[in-house]
């Protein structure tokens, strides 16, 4: 089972999206902000990180940069998931090192498609 780290500060969004991902067959670990996410990745292994962008404390953009700068986590694909949906928000997420971007509210088939694409491309990259 693929392991996903889901980083999201809004409690309801965290509950809703993690439930849907679990039901879609992923093992989901949750973090409430960027600092917690960095803590969790230092001790556990993940196939993918789904990252909210505007979070208090360490934002998603900063978290993505830190994850990509660290050798231990640089190869984990990141999917930005944000309620900020302007084209500049997408670009900013990709510029921070995220592999793809999706918007909230979630369209589940589209989100799963993006997750699978990122998991597939990372498999190719590692083999």
């Amino acid at each position: 089972m693929k392991r996903i780290l889901f980083v999201e500060d809004d409690e309801m969004s965290r509950d809703v999206i993690s439930t849907r991902l679990s039901r879609s067959g992923y093992e989901v670990v949750m973090a409430e902000d960027g600092y917690q996410a960095l803590d969790v990745v230092s001790t556990q292994v993940f196939d993918l990180i789904i990252l909210d962008m505007s979070m208090p404390g360490l934002s998603g953009w900063e978290t993505a940069k830190k994850l990509k700068a660290s050798p231990g986590t640089a190869s984990i694909p990141i999917l930005a998931l944000s309620a900020h949906t302007m084209s500049t928000d997408r670009k900013r997420a990709l510029d921070s090192g995220c592999g793809d971007f999706d918007s909230k509210p979630v369209n589940l088939p589209r989100l799963l498609g993006k997750i699978e694409a990122l998991l597939g491309s990372s498999k190719q990259a590692t083999t």
Binding site: D9, D10, E11, M12, S13, D15, V16, I17, T19, R20, R23, S54, M55, P56, G57, A83, H84, T85, M86, D89, S103, K104, P105, V106, L108
Partner: protein, 406 residues
């Protein structure tokens, strides 16, 4: 560009000269007058019927310097000089704008272009104005207009950026509760389909609470949009202030229980009646007191009402103070911006739409008053709302009073 102000300025606003001689004055006397006053650009010549002509310094000395110039122009009356001119002097009515005067002055033949011109007024002697003074004034006005246009452009860009920011925030704030509503809805559809409805209740409750939050936000956004489009009307009535306070107290008292706060009201009884928009006033105070209760725990929230008499009428000062977490200066400086919450985690911990204070401030200003804040971290916050005892239909905004008291 501030066209109106530029157009209000006429040739009458320019410095003028009114040195006059009669038509029989010899040229030598005119030359003496010019030599006595080096800034004099010209002299007006009058005859028995009134204005006869103008002697421009340039033209006069140019003619004196010609062959036999002194014999012809210095010894004879000044009319012989006037007759030597190939065009009559330029007469400009007093109400002509600087801009138009510059156009007609510059349209003169090249050898006369630097001459002064004559400003004529009904029932008053003509004045003489230096060409250079006109051009300097025109340059000054154009420079001022340029500066003004630049400032307006900067303001327009900043307003447009603020609007984009507002829309981006709004989109984000609306999408967040929708994420819960749609997501929980889809989960419940799956559950019902699978015949598993055991965990449904908290999810249904979440849908309702996210929906209510969304509704509150949409109402706030609509109010702000109405205010901006100037479609928000005041509904002014005369009502009893003591009754109003009594009712307000009964609304806000339950808000104190959650964080174990005490609430007290101190009121100056000098005012019994006020003429205002009761609903908006109540909304403002409920919001301020609700905020105070939210950001204070096991503390005190106070409402203090005082009357202030100023030369432009009676005012009511509503002070809402708390002993809560307070704010720093950075947080206070952006406090009244829509969707600004001192920290984005605040909406999670404390709830709220981020629109309440923005609306409260706008309502106060509509009523002809203002809202200010004083606060320090961990030392509580005091909001001071100042509204006229008698509001007017079209309230005058006292913008100088709207600065934050930091």
């Amino acid at each position: 560009m501030n066209v109106t102000a530029t157009q209000d300025i006429t040739v009458l606003d320019l410095p003028f000269f009114d040195v006059q001689v009669s038509d029989t004055t010899p040229g030598s006397e005119v030359a003496r007058l010019f030599e006595q006053n080096y800034s004099l650009p010209g002299i007006i010549v009058m005859d028995k019927k009134g204005f006869r002509g103008m002697v421009s310094r340039n033209q006069f000395f140019q003619r004196l310097g010609r062959l036999f110039g002194i014999e012809v122009y210095a010894t004879r009356p000044i009319t012989s000089f006037l007759d030597s001119l190939s065009i009559p002097p330029l007469l400009v009515p007093a109400e002509m704008t600087i801009q138009n005067a510059a156009i007609v002055c510059l349209a003169r033949p090249v050898e006369y272009v630097y001459d002064p011109f004559v400003v004529t007024m009904k029932d008053q002697p003509p004045h003489l104005v230096d060409f250079l003074a006109l051009i300097l004034k025109q340059t000054e006005l154009l420079t001022a207009a340029q500066i003004e246009a630049h400032a307006q452009r900067v303001a327009a860009v900043s307003a447009s950026n603020a609007k984009s920011d507002f829309l981006a925030h709004m989109s984000h704030e609306l999408r967040t509760p929708l994420t819960a509503i749609i997501g929980y809805g889809e989960i419940l559809i799956e559950d019902v389909g699978a015949g598993q409805i055991g965990e449904s209740l908290p999810r249904l409750e979440s849908i309702v609470s996210a929906g209510l939050h969304l509704l509150e936000m949409i109402n706030g956004i609509l109010d702000l949009a109405k205010i901006e489009a100037r479609k928000m009307d005041l509904f002014l009535t005369t009502f009893s202030l003591p009754d109003f306070i009594l009712e307000l107290t009964s609304i806000v008292q339950p808000l104190m229980k959650k964080n174990g706060n005490e609430f007290s009201v101190i009121s100056d009884h000098a005012i019994n009646e006020m003429h205002s928009d009761e609903t908006k006033l109540r909304q403002c105070l409920t919001n301020l007191i609700g905020n105070a209760a939210k950001f204070t725990s096991q503390g005190h929230v106070g409402l203090n009402i005082q009357k202030e008499t100023l030369e432009y009428g009676d005012w009511l000062i509503f002070q809402v103070s708390d002993t809560g977490i307070g704010m720093n200066e950075t947080q206070m400086s952006r406090l009244f911006e829509a969707f600004y919450q001192a920290d984005s985690s605040i909406s999670r911990h404390y709830g709220g739409t981020g629109l309440g204070l923005s609306l409260t401030k706008q309502f106060c200003e509509m009523l002809g008053g203002n809202l200010t804040v004083r606060s320090a971290v961990n030392q509580g916050t005091t909001f001071t709302m100042k509204v006229p005892v008698r509001s007017k239909e079209r309230a005058i905004h006292v913008s100088s009073l709207n600065q934050n008291e930091i």
